[in-house]
Point group: C3
Chain length 253, copies 3
């Protein structure tokens, strides 16, 4: 019996995620629930956050993700399968980074008539569609039993760095709780002793970790996702650089 991880933007204070947990435990009593977060902020951020944890879980894990601003519209509900890991959520771009990371993943549109009979609200598919689907998958049902294959799951374009000669132009794709700036520049792109610049202006030393520079000094390093990151030792890079998502990061090899 499998693990179901749960990530939402519901907060915890209203009991929405708890309702989903109850539905899951009623359908799949032996499923193990693992809380990820109820504080996702938007579909794009959620897509990146998934990258941080999904692949660390054992085969068969079902990753349930609900950030669903267009619930009740025509958007589909989807199941994805990529190398023995499963995904369930709204078809609104949430899984874009997963599709990038698992190019051979397959996707299905959930058919609600294949779920246990239940009145489906127009505003809470987390409880009424996604939780039952995740519970059934964790119980061993296959995606084929719950939906129809699709080849056009919603996927937003993921910004890729441009490489021109010995210059890589990437951007900040995420800012974490500590104010660290995560770029889309992969460690494999870096060779030799590159120069790191934030918008042509600030030259930042590339080092191993925070403590390689003095307190309050900026640094660049290979982050835990394998991307180039920019931080301030014992401080916040987002406020230090007044940085925001989308800002250019330039690497001169």
């Amino acid at each position: 019996m499998g693990i179901i991880t749960i990530a939402t933007d519901f907060g915890t204070a209203d009991g929405y995620t708890a309702a989903m947990k109850g539905v899951i435990k009623s359908i799949a009593p032996d499923a193990e629930l693992i809380d990820v977060t109820d504080d996702l902020s938007g579909v794009l951020k959620a897509s990146i956050v998934l990258l941080r944890y999904y692949s660390h879980f054992p085969p068969g894990t079902v990753h349930l993700v609900v950030v669903d601003p267009t619930v009740g519209s025509g958007r589909r509900a989807v199941i994805g399968a990529g190398e023995s890991l499963l995904f369930v959520g709204p078809d609104n771009g949430l899984f874009s980074h997963i599709m990038e990371d698992r190019p051979h993943s397959k996707w299905w549109s959930i058919e609600t008539e294949k779920l246990p009979p239940r009145k489906i609200s127009s505003t809470f598919h987390g409880r009424d569609i996604f939780a039952p689907a995740a519970a059934l998958l964790a119980s061993g049902r296959s995606p084929e039993e719950l939906g129809e294959p699709i080849d056009d799951p919603c996927r937003f374009e993921i910004p890729r760095p441009k490489i021109e000669g010995n210059v890589i132009t990437g951007q900040i794709i995420d800012i974490d709780k500590f104010g660290n700036l995560i770029t889309n520049i992969n460690q494999d792109m870096l060779t030799g002793k590159p120069s790191i610049l934030l918008e042509e202006k600030e030259k930042i030393p590339l080092v191993d970790s925070f403590s390689n520079v003095p307190k309050d000094a900026p640094l660049a390093y290979i982050g835990s996702l394998g991307f180039l990151e920019i931080a301030v030792n014992l401080g916040r890079a987002d406020s230090h650089f007044n940085a925001e998502r989308g800002r250019k990061v330039i690497v001169k090899l």
Copy 2:
């Protein structure tokens, strides 16, 4: 061995709820702990939040709820049983909506001498009384073994809508994280093509879901609890309407 859900107003940063979890696992090693929230804001709100999740859990689930501003006073500690679900918490009105929803529920006052011997602090009954009681219930002990039956559990009056002719006057009873306004007007009360008004002023269209109106436009709909709700598509109804709990909502049938 049963599930214990845990909802408190302790926050997570101080370790109070973790102490409760330790006590439970020491008494009932096989109990499965399900986190609901540590961010309940007040007894009234907690009572409504319970409605969102309690009934979705399988029979035998113990719902442990601790919002306990009068801990250490004479207020009783209670166990409730309603159609195979169990409740544990302070007797301060927390379970008012449950009593409304499960009119045949039965209640007991916990007798601390029937719990495992333990020094009982005067300020943390969550750890010293409610957690042990929940652990024992999840282990199969009956409410009768832990307390004395009572017929006067604390219950605050739940506002009900007034129906006069073809006019229903209800009110906002909850505002969720998204700023959606939950009213006390049940879907069963609505017939035909009703007009929805917020304090006689704002006429709001009754539709199926958010996407039935343009972005930033208000809508009324049957929410996931079965009550009439008011929202703003991709926006916040609480700030749009400057709304607060208790404000009048009028339906003309």
Copy 3:
């Protein structure tokens, strides 16, 4: 198979703690994960928060704590063992109160080559070192198998009250979510009918619990940790007294 409690300062919104959970479940599929918090604020606060919950868990429990501002520096990773409970985290003072509370605890420096082979990032030892170590301990591996014994784990000095004649001078060591002030004055030090003063100025009645004084009145009481605490009934003592950590509390016996 044991319990692993998890406490961090990662927040939940970025998925860092979820990555740790995935690593643990991949190494120790049967380990039971118990969330404590992702909102620890600093090493000192974390050390005190541990006191609130660690001892309530059953023997064999592994307490994993990650507040790690100097990750990637030379600071060691440690395992502690104290009377059948285990601790895993960075060697930065996090376990100072545990060492005080369990004077016979033993400590080991984790040797990463004794962990399952894995690329170790320079900034996320929670995922790459602490989670694997906790998983192995919960699977029954001993600290000796994972590290080398040390006799100098990092330990900051814990402020102790001064006792001069019949006057105890202590201080506020923690302020909780409710604004209650936790002092370092142990209940065993109090005899007779002591007078409690905050910085010589405010005399505060020592009572059993909140409701022994009127609403909005201050009180002193023995808190759930066994220390003298100061609160305001149905209010906040931190704002009432404009109090902060380190402020003097005087008891005249």
